[in-house]
């Protein structure tokens, strides 16, 4: 079943399934899960082994408005997005500041975590979030390959709209990195001319017409943003 995996990986799968890992280590393990079907099988096997523990947790009927909100969120096309957000610089700073603080804590946790999984080359991470939306994306940048791996943890484009990913270096205008993958996880290769800038840049996701911004610059609301941080 899962015995083809190294024992350490199987135990890491158990720790992930149980949920005991600190946040940063958990995020890194989740990124490994995206790439490894064997690891996913190991996690599933542990989830199945432990599932009977949930028998002890009593059922609690959720309030009806949760169902109403869920069905509306999933099955009602959303109307026009808020505009003019990009001009609102202070909000920008708030967003990136919050994410930076979160990542500073995350980096601290990571350093204290025992035996982090081996990651080849320099790795950078950004957590894109906003307190105005539910969109949350974790981005991992592998400097060696120039690949930015995207893990969309929450939020999806409004019906008929697209999410576009932007790189903002210093005071430069945002540069498009293309549309966010339609799937929850995916990756984009950063153009060689932008690679040096990634490590200190801010990443942002904006709401755009299907097919992406027609102007080459963001036209819709910032759905999430976060500063790139080295791990």
């Amino acid at each position: 079943m899962t015995d083809t995996l190294p024992p350490d990986d199987d135990l890491a799968a158990a720790e992930y399934a149980l949920g005991v890992m600190p946040a940063a280590e958990r995020a890194l393990f989740a990124a490994r899960l995206d790439l490894s079907p064997e690891l996913r099988t190991a996690v599933s096997s542990w989830e199945i082994r432990l599932a009977a523990l949930a028998d002890q947790i009593p059922e609690v009927a959720p309030p009806p408005q949760v169902k109403a909100a869920l069905m509306t969120a999933l099955f009602t096309p959303e109307t026009e997005p808020r505009a003019g957000f990009w001009e609102n610089l202070w909000l920008w700073r708030t967003l990136t500041g919050v994410s930076l603080a979160a990542l500073a804590v995350m980096a601290g946790l990571y350093l204290r975590a025992p035996a982090p999984p081996a990651v080849p080359g320099a790795v950078y991470v950004a957590e894109l979030a906003s307190d105005k939306t539910t969109v949350r994306v974790i981005a991992y940048y592998d400097a060696q390959s120039g690949t930015l791996r995207l893990d969309r943890r929450a939020g999806e484009p409004a019906a008929g709209r697209a999410m576009e990913l932007w790189l903002i270096a210093g005071t430069d205008k945002p540069k498009s990195l293309g549309l966010m993958p339609a799937t929850e996880t995916g990756s984009v290769v950063i153009p060689t001319t932008l690679r040096d800038a990634v490590q200190t840049a801010t990443l942002a996701v904006s709401d755009e017409p299907a097919g992406g911004s027609p102007t080459g610059q963001p036209t819709g609301a910032v759905l999430a943003a976060g500063k790139v941080h080295s791990l």
Binding site: P7, D10, L11, A14, E15, A17, L18, G19, V20, M21, P22, A23, R26, R40, T41, S44, S45, E47, I48, R49, L50, A51, A52, L53, A54, D55, Q56, I57, P58, E59, V60, A61, P62, P63, V66, K67, A69, L70, M71, A73, L74, F75, A101, A102, V105, M106, P114, T134, R153, A154, E156, E184
Partner: protein, 178 residues
């Protein structure tokens, strides 16, 4: 006759809204219980429940290859999401809602999982572990305790608790595979 939950998830994977509503009606009380127990805050548990079902809608196609039965898969989606939220509480622990009862003691593994056959075997194998290790496994699963919280509760240094719990998990796996 009501369709099995497995069939419903299969239909959800084919974007069947009616099947999704039916699945929600039949499983949300269990998943809300799980979210509430882990997050200990009603409003956050409600958010987590909604996000969990968004994931269920989006990822239903992954269910059939996972080896899970319907309920264990749904519980895993809910737990993973709630644990992500729990671990993302960077700065301060959220205050607990008075209305949500929080276990002061570790859950009693002896009382666990009597219902199913899987449950019986799990209980038996937890029983073969040292009592404190079995409690740590149950506490992590049911109440979402992190390594840090387990270390505090059991009075074991953080750098020891991991080796200690991993040994317990390896033994548990060995017992369950017998």
């Amino acid at each position: 006759m009501a369709e099995s939950l497995e069939v419903l998830i299969g239909r959800v994977a084919l974007r069947d809204e009616a099947a999704f509503r039916n699945l929600y009606d039949r499983t949300s009380a269990k998943l809300f219980g799980v979210c509430l127990r882990l997050l200990r805050q009603r409003s956050e548990a409600e958010d987590a429940l909604q996000e969990t079902y968004v994931k269920v809608w989006r990822n239903a196609a992954q269910f059939s290859a996972s080896g899970h039965n319907a309920m264990s898969w749904l519980i895993a989606v809910a737990r993973n999401h709630a644990i992500d939220r729990l671990r993302a509480r960077w700065t301060e622990a959220a205050p607990l809602d008075a209305e949500v009862e929080v276990a002061d003691e570790m859950p009693d593994p002896e009382r666990q999982a009597l219902a199913s056959d899987m449950g019986r075997r799990l209980r038996q194998c937890l029983g073969e572990l040292e009592a404190v290790r079995a409690q740590a496994v149950a506490g992590a699963y049911i109440d979402g305790f992190s390594y840090q919280e387990l270390a505090d509760r059991h009075g074991i240094p953080l750098n020891t608790i991991r080796t200690w719990l991993r040994r317990g998990l390896a033994k548990l796996k060995e017992c369950l595979s017998r």
